[in-house]
Amino acid sequence: MKLKYFSAPYLVWMIVFILVPLLMIAYFAFTTDGGDFTIRNVSDVGQYANIFVRSIWLSLIATAICLVIAYPVAFILSRMDKHKQGTMLMIVMLPMWMNFLLRTYAWMTLLGNNGIINNMLGAVGLGPVRMINTSGAVVLGMVYNYLPFMILPLYSVMVKIDKSLLEAASDLGCSSASTLFRVVVPLTMPGITSGITMVFVPAISTFIISRMLGGGSNLLIGDLIEMQFLGNAYNPHLGAAISLVLMVIILVIMTVMNQFDPDDQVLI
């Protein structure tokens, strides 16, 4: 019973820094400057449907790419020698020691029309490729920045898979493909869902990546929210309403995701 008290600091933290701000966002979203109730802010969000769809689309692509890249990496990592694993994990984490903005800034120089990649392509006689200021560059930025968030949860689940399970599968005549799909994937489902959450949620609400790599000509939701607070038209009410809608969308997507979270997967 006493253990309960240890959660008090977090409880206070949660109330002050999570619950209260959430309520304030809801309050702002449904009020005017004068404090009167209105649903205009929320209904105004409708005009930005384009931007929402675009953000969701780009972050879904980025999440999918992350999953495809991270899955084999995490699996190989988890099957390595114990002491090697530590080193390799550190290498995965290494980019995260650098400031997020700085890393994205570096991509600007890499992808530029006169950037390093295009210069190298030019040296072997390939014409300059337009890379920066495209949606592709935004997706690349998301994948690059959030990939470790996909690798780590997958790795931590995979490292717990006993080697004997895989051996048993092949003993019983499983091909390696069916071992993967009938043993490894179901067992790593919790890692997959939490990895997707950890990549998708920051990706959908990012604003700096699209500004730096996307050339600012294609807004994402994050940019839109930022504009409401730091732009010329200071409109926290609309900003709060957009945030609220974004939260609802994320909530819906996460609920769908949780359908995959298998409480009973062990039975298979």
Binding site: Q47, I51, V53, L101, I132, G215, G216, L230, Q259, F260
Partner: protein, 417 residues
């Protein structure tokens, strides 16, 4: 008007980008002299609070005062303290909006602030700053006529101009054959330079360019005119490479683009990094921006603050500051003290007739106009959503949901057995 994108600025600083212009050795020798022979006309005026032990809070842009950090330059605040015995608590902000939020919030008390034009008119309207007693600021006489009584403060009752600048076009003179005098805003709409154009990522500045081209006022609030300006920007969008603010420094210096509209003071810095570049102030007119010293309504030491403003307008002090900041000065005596090649530099000092007739300052727009503008801007920027986005998105949603339902169904079947 250093609109610093705060986060990025921090990064830029850490990349040790040189913001501000480098001084010639000749200049710093001159500073050396002036540092020793600081001449103040009316010393008695400054002695009034000598023994009162008071202090004032000055809130200014970063890197926006001569602080004696470089050898031979004047530490303006230290000189003021020495002369008057008033202690100066000097702090920085990065954007006008930050300053506004601080004053509006009322938590902190400042005695001197230096906002930009449109912010001054907004603060006057909201009574956040108070009228100055010009009798306490005799050095106001040095302010040139072109920079007095501007639209943001029509009777110049609230502010004393500190620096100014114009918006013009940075262009690559190697690649663009149009002679400098003929460069006008329409070059930013020229199909020939497709994907070589950078544009302001800030609705007010971007709209201003379209408004000049259409012959409207920079401060128009007419929804139809704003709509027309937005259409003009929409027309341009397909040939714009990127919408940027501070990224312009790197992109232009690295030759990523051929054309970019930007602020004159910052353009000088960029021009130093790439000698192919040049800066033209379009002849059809442009935006004049002014940063001016004001006293917040909540100031505790109004007279001392006026003394500080007057001190900033002492010729030697104004010269030391402008020499450090490299923006343009509205101060006649400081202007006379500048080197001939700085004075004749058309980037910093376009001729005064042009300033008087062809430039306009921003004033604060009404909330409605601001909202309309930002809506049009968002619409313009998000317009080219691929028509496949919505259907593909819907189809994938439906697929996912179907998949989930089928799985559940199967699971339930299994459970039965």
């Amino acid at each position: 008007m250093k609109r610093k994108f705060a986060l990025l600025a921090a990064v830029l600083m850490s990349l040790s980008m040189t913001i501000g212009c480098s001084r010639s050795s000749k200049n710093s020798e001159k500073d050396d002299d002036s540092a020793q022979t600081l001449t103040i006309e009316d010393k008695r005026y400054y002695k009034r609070f000598r023994n009162d032990g008071i202090s004032i809070n000055v809130y200014n842009w970063g890197e926006y005062i001569s602080d004696g950090a470089d050898e031979g330059t004047l530490d303006v605040n230290a000189e003021f303290e020495k002369l008057t015995g008033i202690k100066v608590n000097y702090t920085n902000y990065a954007t006008n909006e930050e300053l506004y939020a601080k004053l509006k919030g009322g938590g902190a008390s400042y005695d001197v602030v230096i906002p930009s034009d449109y912010m001054i008119s907004k603060m006057i309207k909201e009574k956040l700053i108070q009228p100055l007693n010009m009798e306490n600021i005799p050095n106001y006489k040095y302010i040139m006529d072109n920079y007095r009584d501007l639209a943001y403060d029509p009777e110049n009752a609230y502010s004393v101009p500190y620096t100014w600048g114009t918006v013009g076009i940075i262009y690559n003179a190697e690649e663009i054959d149009t002679p400098k005098e003929e460069i006008d805003w329409d070059i930013l709409w020229n199909e020939k330079y497709k994907d070589q154009i950078l544009m302001f990522d800030n609705p007010r500045d971007a709209f201003a360019i379209a408004e000049i081209m259409l012959g409207y006022s920079l401060n128009t609030e007419d929804p139809a005119e704003l709509k027309a300006a937005a259409d003009k920007l929409k027309e341009q969008k397909s040939i714009v490479q990127a919408y940027v603010m501070d990224e312009v420094f790197d992109k232009m210096a690295a030759g990523e683009a051929l054309l970019a509209p930007y602020y004159a003071g910052d353009a000088l810095t960029i021009l130093e990094d790439n000698e192919d570049l040049d800066f033209a102030v379009p002849k059809s007119g442009t935006n004049l921006f002014v940063d001016a010293m004001c006293i917040p309504a909540s100031a505790k030491q109004k007279e001392a603050a006026e003394m500080y403003i007057n001190f900033m307008c002492e010729p030697d002090i104004a010269y030391a500051n402008i020499d450090y900041i490299c923006y343009s000065t509205p101060h006649s005596a400081a202007f006379e003290m500048l080197d001939e090649d700085v004075r004749s530099n058309s980037v910093s000092y376009p001729d005064s007739e042009f300033i008087a007739e062809k430039t306009d300052v921003f004033v604060n727009l009404s909330d409605d106009a601001n909202e309309t503008m930002s809506q049009l801007w968002t619409e313009m920027k998000s317009e080219t959503a691929n028509k496949w986005f919505v259907p593909i998105f819907l189809v994938s949603c439906i697929t996912i949901i179907a998949f989930v339902l089928i799985r559940r169904h199967n699971k339930r079947k299994k459970d039965i057995f």
